[in-house]
């Protein structure tokens, strides 16, 4: 008898409750983003695709000091230095293996010249492994954002704690 009452209670109280839950969600706005057509705005400090920056006169900021490669926990950065006509150091080869990169941003922190930083792009899919090896040409493109908030924070941090060379 108790079981029967419980069963009746389930049918007339518990089951409608369950139905109401799903019906409630039916009328709510879905959380799914219509992804390839609409993109989610990334947070300002999101770490995505790498960029190499230039000075205003167009020369590359990177001097191929190797600090980023040393800081890289995933060992994703490879570089070969060369000398310009003016006798300045610059990178002949600068490659980042995206399949190794973990997007930690340590290279950005380590860089004394503020040459490398991570942008907002996150769509890296490709159909061949060699397309994941990014060279200078890929990264020296003008990046969409003029002001990188991370750089601002980094400058403030360095004012207090000094540059990586100074601490070393």
């Amino acid at each position: 008898m108790k079981d029967i009452l419980k069963a009746i209670g389930n049918v007339f109280i518990k089951m409608p409750q369950g139905f109401l839950v799903t019906l409630k969600y039916f009328f709510k706005k879905p959380v799914t983003l219509d992804y390839p057509r609409k993109k989610k705005p990334m947070v300002p400090r999101y770490r995505g695709k790498h960029y190499l920056e230039r000075y205003d006169d167009g020369t590359e900021r990177c001097v191929c000091c190797g600090l980023c490669a040393a800081a890289c926990p995933a060992d994703a950065i490879y570089m070969e230095p060369e000398e310009t006509e003016k006798g300045e150091r610059k990178a002949k080869v600068y490659e980042i293996n995206l399949l190794r990169c973990i997007f930690c941003g340590f290279c950005e922190e380590a860089c004394p010249e503020e040459a490398i930083f991570l942008g907002q792009e996150y769509e890296f899919s490709a159909d061949a492994r060699n397309k994941f090896l990014w060279t200078k040409q890929d990264m020296l493109v003008p990046h969409p954002r003029k002001d990188n908030p991370f750089k601002r924070i980094l400058r403030r941090v360095r004012k207090v704690y000094g540059t990586p060379e100074a601490t070393r």
Binding site: G18, K28, P30
Partner: protein, 334 residues
Amino acid sequence: MLEMILISSAKVIAVILAVLTGCAYATYMERKVVAYMQHRIGPSYAGPYGLLQPLADAVKLAFKEDIVPDGVERITYAIAPIASFVPAMLIFAVVPFSSDFTFFGYDIPGVISDLNIGVLYVLAMTSLGIYGIVLAGWSSPSKYSLMGGIRSSAQMISYEISYGLSIVGILIIGNSLSLTDIVSQQASESWLFFGNWYIVKQPLGFLLYLVCAIAETNRAPFDLPEAESELVGGYHTEYSSMRFSMFFIAEYAYMIGVATVGTTLFLGGWNGPFLPPIVWFVIKVFMFMFFYIWLRATFPRFRYDQLMQFGWKVLFPLALLNTMGTAAWVVLFG
């Protein structure tokens, strides 16, 4: 005579087309409704709001390679999809979808065939539908298919009894086996237009019909024969291309079939105020289908022993109780 044949053929073709389109858009509706209930958006790429998705699916299935695995029982393997598809479509032959109407001067009855044992015919067709599933499970050289087939046959035998008994209450009150008679008995002129519907007189019968119909059509939460999380695809695991799509269409045609029969038996068929009968009919069938999908989005699948216990220890006694109660009521007060 010739006119009769032409009118009947036209009706048959119209109903088949309507049912096939209904099946296609039932898949779309199911995907959309379940998606929204799960906070997703569902298919949205093919056409506006994904409205061409069923068409895209059909084209995709039609162009897929028809793979026949090694070691199948060839003849039964080929018969199975047809055996599941044909009875599903045959159900619609006796369902009155509209009142009699006049079309270009011809009086046309709103049903393909007004069989005077319509209810028995529906029961026969739903019970024949199991063969497609069982044969598919048996002829495929796969454990999953066999398990699906065995589960399906046991489940459908168990629930068919309650399914039939849930209707008996109506037959006792209405004193007729013809679906057209049952619909006309539910007509009402008063402002309370649903007062004569059998859902009011037979609430328990309606609940039983609902549950058993879902179990008969192998829908969630009774979808053990094709439980994808444990049996891959169940009985249609080894099917591909058009053969698979025939199973798919058959499943949805069954859903629509039991929805139309349920509408006819319990929800007053095409009866209703203001709107034309066919519109009322479609609205009611649509609500039935929505409930189906709603149920799928709400409840998890039964375990097999729970399914059997529920069928034999709960539904069957309740159906008997409903039948006896109705009979006693009719004898004492009717």
